[in-house]
Amino acid sequence: MKLLEDKKGVVRVIEAFLASMLLMSCLAMIPAQPRLQDSTGNLASTAQNVLLSLNSNGHLATLVDNREWTNLKSSIESALPLTVWFNLTVFDENMHVLNDDFPICNGGAVSNSIVSVDYVCASQNSTYTIYILRLQLSQVGTI
């Protein structure tokens, strides 16, 4: 009875409990770090490969020259697997967006992890117009 009425040690217990909770919650935060580096590294490599291969003979620059956005979209689409989301933005040398009225993408972004690769190409005609192609990729299904 005397033991139950004596409240002097309660603060210590609460203190110990709170300290342990603090410690545990800190530790629980550690595994929440996302593992993104491997997939993004792979996607960046894929983006570079796609742009370099497709523009091997100035094909992409020619499509931009002629503003053939549908064909440009089809070209990018043909080189990427269905599980990859993409968005291509075409800039001129002053970084003005050229395909403002025609988004070259395959739907909305489905992941927080998006890789962006910029690729500079020149048109094959006598003006050698410079274009910057920004290809953004994301793996469907990753958060």
Binding site: V13, H59, S78
Partner: protein, 347 residues
């Protein structure tokens, strides 16, 4: 027992319990982090090997054109000015149906992979599917209607079609196209008495002429052939030469043709020779070579593509872990898909 001692003991017990749980957390957390780091290292390590295979010509840099085994494995064309351009012969020598193919063991040794399984798959970017929708007998022979569909990753694409009909002493071609839905229809005719008639279909994507694919349809069996035929005669293209090998002693080669999307040409075959040159047709298209002959009184036609694509070389990774690295590559001006797969790195 004083109350304060009891409280202290109780508090210590809670802290001890928390410490034990925390130790468990740390162990599992650190293990996940170690595994992640290992996986990241493994992925970048394998990516570097895959990049090396795609961008390096290997040693010797012309190993594709001879029957030698490379000392260092690489598929790129030597002195290429186009990024990600692969050598037609190096790729062809990965196909096990070619008499000059390199073995999996040689590929492993040349890749300097001691304990990692490797698999290489090359495929056409555009799939061409052929079905026979109808056939009828006419006065001059037989007439067929072929339904052709073209797709990339199961997505329909429009394409231009060029179809060659090859039969016994008969050669003809028909053009057509597939719609935005990827569907098209092409009528073909064969003359009376034509045997072993086959149709070679070339499809070229409307948005990029480098995406050109071929498909073979056997009119006699009403089937699409996905693997080159070698019932009587094995055809092995390498270094723009077609090599013949057969087990039959009573086989005579009569004719040979080479086809691309835009061109067709006869092979300069010399009777009795076991090799003949393949003309270097300037066209952004795979080549299909057809050889006709007679074996023991029976007419036959064998075909092979050059480059000898599609194929899967190396390990099939059935039921095991694999890391796949995909590339879009150029072979003789045509775009193909290349997948390089590696097994898990042994600990």
């Amino acid at each position: 027992l004083p109350t304060s001692s009891f409280d202290t003991f109780f508090a210590c017990t809670i802290i001890l319990a928390a410490a034990l749980i925390a130790t468990g957390f740390v162990t599992s957390t650190m293990q996940v982090r170690i595994d992640n780091t290992k996986s990241i290292n493994e992925e970048s390590y394998l990516q570097a090997i895959a990049d090396h295979i795609v961008t390096s010509p290997g040693t010797p840099n012309n190993w594709g054109t001879s029957s030698s085994v490379p000392a260092d494995f690489g598929l790129a064309t030597s002195h290429s000015t186009i990024p990600y351009e692969l050598d037609i012969d190096k790729v062809t020598r990965l196909n096990s149906l070619n008499n000059y193919s390199i073995s999996y063991f040689d590929m492993e040794i040349a890749s300097k992979l001691n304990n990692i399984a490797i698999g290489i798959a090359v495929s056409q970017i555009m799939d061409v599917s052929i079905e026979q929708s109808s056939s009828s007998i006419t006065g001059s022979g037989e007439s067929f209607n072929l339904s052709i569909s073209t797709s990339i990753d199961s997505e329909p694409v429009s394409a231009s079609l060029n179809c060659y009909v090859v039969a016994n002493n008969y050669l003809n071609n028909t053009t057509g196209s597939t719609s935005d839905m990827g569907l098209g229809s092409v009528p073909v005719q064969t003359p009376s008495g034509a045997t072993n008639a086959m149709v070679i279909v070339f499809a070229r994507a409307s948005f990029d002429d480098r995406i050109t694919s071929y498909a073979i349809y056997n009119l006699e069996n009403s089937t699409q052939e996905t693997v080159s035929s070698s019932d009587f005669l094995t055809l092995s293209p390498i270094d723009y030469k077609l090599n013949f090998s057969t087990n039959s002693s009573d086989l005579t080669i009569q004719d040979g043709y080479v086809f691309s999307y835009s061109h067709q040409q006869n092979l300069a075959y010399k009777p009795g020779a076991m090799q003949c040159p393949i003309p270097e047709i300037v066209d952004k298209s795979p080549l299909v070579v057809v050889v006709c002959g007679v074996n023991d009184g029976t007419y036959f036609q064998e075909w092979v593509s050059y480059p000898q694509v599609p194929f899967n070389a190396g390990s099939d990774f059935s039921g095991s872990q694999k890391n796949v690295f995909s590339y879009t590559v150029t072979i003789n001006g045509v775009l193909y898909k290349l997948d390089i797969s590696f097994g898990g790195v042994a600990s």
